[in-house]
Every structure is written in C-alpha cells, then in structure tokens.
C-alpha cells in the first residue's frame, strides 16, 4: 500500500512534466495539423537555459536565496526558450505553410537534428549533473513490511512541481478562454481560412502558439533538471515521443486531454518500472500509444475526425 502511494506520487510528478510538454504538441497539431518533431528538443533547450541561468545566478552573482533564484530561472528559461520556439517556426515551418503535409514533418525532423547537434557541439556531449538543490520533504505515511520500515515521502521538489503545474495550467486555461490571443487561437484551430477572412492574423497566432508551447516546455525542462539533476543534449527525444504519446492518449487537439494524457503516461511508466521491469518502461509507453491509436483513434477527450468525401 505504502509502495503504491509512493509510486502514485512519483507518477504524478513525472506526469506533470509530460503534460506540460504535451500541451505544445497538441496546440500545434490543433492549428496546423503537423507533429512538431522539434518540440522535444525545445524542452531540452529549456533545461539547458535553466541550468546556465541557475549557475549564473548562484556562482557569478552569488545569490543564495533559493525561492527568488528559482523564480528568476523559470522566467528567464521561459523567455529565452520561447525565442527558440519562435525561430524554429519561422525558419522551418512558416515557409512551408500550405505545402504538402510531409514537407513540414521532414523539416521538423531536420530541426530536431540541428538542435541536438547544436547543443552537443556548443555544450559538449557529456551529461551535466546538478546536485539536488531542494532537499527534504514531508512523510505522509509509515508502514512496516518484511524488508523493514517503508516511508511514503512527498519531497518539497515534487510539491513545487505539482503546484507549479497546477498554477501554469490554470493560467494557461484562462489565457485560452479569456484573452484575445486565446480566442484567435481557438478560431484558427476550428478553421484557419475562415479565421483569416474574419481578420485574425493567422501567422501571428501560429507564431504565438509556438511561443506559448515553448514557454511551457521550458518550465518542464526546468522541472526535469531539478527533479533528476542530470541533463544532456539527447533528453528531448524520448521525452518528446512520450509527451506526444500523452497528447494522443488524451485526444490530440484537446488541452485538458494533453494534461490528462501526460499524467496517465507518467503513472503508467512509474508503475511499470515499480512493479515490472525498468528496462521495458519505454516499451510500455510506446505500446500504449499503439493500442490507443488502434482502438481509440480520437483519444480520451478528443473529438472524432469526420471525413468528408
């Protein structure tokens, strides 16, 4: 029981990270109907920016008050990473708007290769370890098993991750439902051509979608860095595929679906490694993707696609 609760907490934490990345996929897919393959690498860029900002603040300027430092790190990471998101869209996707569907997929894979190798060349291929900055936590439950006492811990870092995700999701939902940008975004999602006719600046809306998606991915990158303490240039690939799986599981195009899918994928992965084998946890996630797409192509909260002849 205690083990189960502990895995549940770990799964929700990991799921929050996947959910934040998944939003970027689902928004882009909703508007322009392409898989933004480079989004996982944007997440990686975000974690590198967060790491560098953290080091600048602590070792160069010598700030020691952690809450302020972390807040500044999140904001800087969001700003700089969204610049990357914007640039990727501008360079690789906008020129191909209206082109056939495979072209942006190829440039997306190209951009993914470029980002990975750019970071590998400029920052080196070795992993970057960061010692845990926030230690400790609260003990929720205590139980006795054959192996000894088992503690169910909710670490402060996990609390921060879950609270930040909830705050960001609330803010993001308000952004989509109550602002002009959100209205334009929803309009473009329904019908790009009609939205353009009614005076919505489609290019600008799509750019802003990439910016918002990248900013959320940057927060996910920051959380990944703080939770695991190890990043390298390749983390974006797996995280990206799993986040895309999450988006599909939740129903692509649906924002609450992305978050739900993220949480589910996180839980599945953690429980699989907790109760079965760690080696095959990625196989579990990918199999879920295949199974969902085969039996429930529109996902949990998505709307079925109607095909007109």
């Amino acid at each position: 029981m205690e083990y189960f609760v502990q895995q549940l907490i770990n799964g929700l934490t990991l799921g929050s990270i996947y959910g934040l990345i998944a939003i970027g996929y689902t928004m882009v897919y909703g508007i322009i109907g392409m898989i933004n393959f480079a989004h996982g690498d944007i997440f990686m860029i975000g974690s590198f920016v967060a790491l560098a900002t953290f080091l600048i603040l602590t070792s160069v300027f010598g700030f020691a008050f952690l809450p302020v430092v972390l807040l500044v790190v999140i904001i800087v990471a969001m700003l700089f990473t969204s610049a990357w998101g914007w640039a990727v869209e501008r360079i690789a996707y906008r020129p191909l708007r209206g082109s056939f569907r495979l072209a942006p997929l190829i440039t997306a894979i190209g951009m993914s290769i470029v980002l990975q190798n750019f970071v590998q060349i400029t920052q080196g291929a070795r992993v970057k370890p960061l010692p845990p900055q926030i230690q400790g936590g609260i003990t929720l439950m205590e139980g006795q098993t054959d192996a000894g006492t088992i503690l169910v811990q909710l670490s402060y870092m996990q609390m921060i991750i879950i609270v930040t995700t909830v705050v960001l999701m609330t803010g993001f939902t308000l952004l989509i439902s109550h602002t002009a940008l959100g209205r334009a975004q929803r309009a473009c999602e329904q019908d790009t051509k009609m939205a353009a006719l009614l005076g919505v600046d489609v290019d600008r809306t799509i750019s802003l979608t990439f910016v918002v998606g990248a900013a959320l991915a940057a927060v996910a990158g920051f959380m990944f860095l703080m939770l695991y303490g190890v990043i390298d240039f390749y983390i974006g690939f797996l995280a990206g595929i799993k986040a895309f799986t999450a988006a599909v599981l939740g129903g692509i195009g649906s924002l609450p679906g992305a978050m739900l899918g993220g949480l589910l994928i996180g839980l599945i992965e953690v429980f699989w490694s907790g109760y079965f084998t760690v080696e095959y946890k990625d196989v579990a996630a990918f199999s879920i993707l295949a199974i969902v797409l085969i039996f429930l192509p529109s996902g949990l909260l998505g709307q079925p696609e109607v095909e007109k002849v």
């Binding site: 790491l51 360079i91 191909l96 056939f100 072209a103 190829i106 894979i109 993914s112 199999s287």
Partner: protein
Amino acid sequence: MAADNGAAPASEIEAGHSQAAAGQRPAAGAFDWGAALRSSGQAAFLAGVLAFFFIGLRTDIAPGGLVLSFRWLGLLYAIIVVFFGRLLLETFIFHAASTAARAIAAIVFILAVVGMMGYDVPGSRLANRALTGAILGIVVVAVLYLVARWRAGTPAQRKTATAEAGTSAGLAWLARALTVLLLIIAATLPFLITTFFPGQQRQYVDLAILIMTYVMLGWGLNIVVGLAGLLDLGYVAFYAVGAYSFALLSTHFEAIGFWTALPLAGMLAAMWGLILGFPVLRLRGDYLAIVTLAFGEIIRIVLLNWYEFTGGPNGISGIPKPTLFGLEFTRGEGGFADFFGIQYSTIHRFIYLYYIILALALITNFATIRLRRLPIGRAWEALREDEIACRSLGINTTNTKLTAFAIGAMFGGFAGSFFATRQGFVSPESFTFIESAIILAIVVLGGMGSQIGVVVASVAMIGGIEMLRNLDFLQQIFPGVDPVQYRMLIFGFAMVAIMVWKPRGLITTREPSAALKERKKIGADLVAQGEGH
C-alpha cells in the same frame, strides 16, 4: 568559431522562405537600405538571444560541480556573421538590388570576415589570417552572386523550359541515356576508383558501398512511402530484423552463410512487416508515422535488453564474410586471389561487397519498376491518391497496404543482412531513429516516388556528409574545429534548406506508371504524396 557555422546557415534558410512568401521582387535600383538594415538588425538581435546561452557560455564538469565559462568573442562573431550575412542576402537574394548596393554589402561583409579572422586564430601570421579571411569572404560572395544570377532568369522562362521538357520525346531519350550512363558508372566504379585514386581506394570503395546501401534502403522505403503513400518512420526496424536474422543464423548454425541467410532474412523481415503492418491498417498520415516510429523503438529496446538472445548492448560479433561460390577472400591457400592466381589484396573483398550491394539495389529498383505496372502496384498508387475512392472501386485496401509493408520490409531485410556481413558485427546502436529519419529524408528529398531522385539524394546527403571528413583545409582555416563534429548539424540544416527550397524534392517530375495512349510527364505537385489517405 562554432558561432559562424551554427548561425550562418540559419539566415540562409530564412532567405529562401521570405523570397518564396513575397513572390514579387521590387524593381532593380530601388533598394531600401533602411529596411535592409532593420531586418539585418532584427536577425542579429535574434541570433544574439538564441546564441547567448549556448555560444556565449558553456557549462563544464569540474571538480566540485559545474563551472561556467564565457565565450563573449564567439557570441560577438555569431552576431556579426548574422548581421552582415543577412545584409548580403538582402541585397543578393531577397531583392534585386543595384550593383552598387551589392558591392557595398559585399565589401563590408568581406571586411567583417577579414577583421574576425585577423583578430582570432592565434599562432599564425597576421597577413596569412587576413588573406584567408578575404578568400573566405570572396568565396561566399561569389557563391551568392552565382545564385542571384541563376535566379535572375525569370520564373516564366524556367517554367516554359520545364513544360517543354515534360512533353518532348527528346528529353525522354536523354533521361534514358543518362540512366544508362549512371549504370555504366555504377558498374565500373570500383575500377575507376582503383585506377584514379590508388592511395585511397579502400576508403572510396567503402564510401561507395555506404552510399549504395542507402540507395537500396531508399528504394525499399520508396515502395512504402512513395508508392503506397504510407508514411513509415520506423523503417530501420526491418533493417535491424534483417541484420540480426543473419547474425543469429550464422553464429548459431555453422552451415548458414551469407547467401543462404539472405532470403531467410528477407522473409523474416517481410513477416515482421506484416506483423507491424497489421495493427496500423486503420491509421493514416501523421498517426501512422508516430506508431511506426514507436514500433521501431520497441524493436530496438528489445534488442538492447534481451541479453540471452541478442547479446544486449554488446551486440553479436564474428559474423562471417560473404563468399564467392565458396571462395573466401582470405590470404593464402584456397582463397579468391589464390584460385585466380592474382596478387592478394584486401581491396578485393571490398570490391566484391560493392558488387553485392549494387546487385541487391538494382534488384530492388527493377522489382519496384515492374511492380508499379502490376495490378498491385497500381493499387498502391491508387491508395496513395485516395483511399476512399480506392475502396469504393473494390480494391482490397488491407491486402494492398500489407503487401506494401511486407515488400518494403523485405528489401530492408536484405539491406540489413548485407549490413551485418559488411560490418561483421551488429549492435542496437546502429538501428536508432536517426537512421529511419535519414532514409526517409533521402526518399522525400529525392522527390517521392522518383527512383533516380533517391540516388541523387543519397549521393548528395551521404556522400557530401562523408566528404566532410576529408576537408583538411577547413582545419587549417579554423584551427581547433573538427569538421566531422559538424556533420549531423550540416545534415539537419541541409534537410531543412532543401525542403524549404523544393518542398516536392529534387526530382519533381515523373512519368506516370499507367497511362492512356500517351505518356506525359506530370509535376509532382499533382500527386498526393505520402499523406496516407
């Protein structure tokens, strides 16, 4: 220096699209310096923002944790290169600026490069550095000038040229002649190499084998993507199945050599094509792509973790080399050289491998061309164009899709067992997603469905990237920079740039497989390519 290589192509790519978006160009002479400087400034600012955390500083592991080091000079260079590079593009590519404007932009660009090279690169004479900088700048300007000249031919002129090409029988004859010429070159390539480059024959024959392998994989994937329109991002799985089939068969059974294992590997791969194809029958487009990607990764992870069977990350070694009717390519008694009474040389084995892959690739090509004319091939192409119409006309889409997967996978399996015998060693590392991406890129960049396009794209991408290994002079210009490191970066940029420049691929016209009365070339934009409908 990383800055220069990293940032410059980015602005070049921006070039392509804003031209494409704008469509019309202002009249010559009316060059707006203000606008050009403003957009160059914006590009430089963006480059500064993007490069700040990556070029401007670097984190490294040191005793006692991570340390930061700053590279302000690199950041400054990145910004300068982007600013002046963009200005150059504004004058040469985006707008047809007057010669005076172009000259000014070119001169400031060359001066900037000379300045940067003159300041940097310690350990050589200032005059030498400045001279290298000047040459570098002039080369860039010259290339841009040629591109601008080529573009200056009006679009209308170029269009009529291609339209004529589409109908004239003369061009079809030319294409045939070209194909024959390419075949002759391919057939004699090892001997051309040994004659003209005796010093580097092994390296070049090896490169030819590598390119030929990708040509074969490209042709195999072309059946799935180009003909049947099923977007497969996990093609490397079948390559892996082929390679491991041969590796396992040959290491467990003494009697099985390359030639017996080859059909078995192809059959096993085809079977896996069916197994993986079956669940995804209902999926289309991007969904199909992502599920095939997931299958590819699952196979790789299983190969990586199933120690008892596949050897895990250590892979399988000691895979036998192919023999020529039982003759081994070894020194001494009973070997190939001994039997024919010629001087033993290691190059014989490489040449033999080259001919094997050439034969396999040509079989793939021949089979594809023939299949296209059979009912099944026509069904593939019909499926690519419109699945619903296809079904209404009574075509069994399930069988059509499954045969495409299986036949594509079979050729992937052949290529895989060739790969295993060439390397003598297989491990899961060789079958990562990036391989699938490269093969798909070759198919799409070549122009989907085009057989010759695959060859062009393979030679350009694989050959071009491998050539970077030999560019020693680059290391003299930029000491401390290893061009090999930049291979994949340049590969990625090339993928983006070619797609932006020609979204339909390099070879954009093709002959229809079936035609009424007269064969007219059709533009690729008339074909629904790989959208999985």
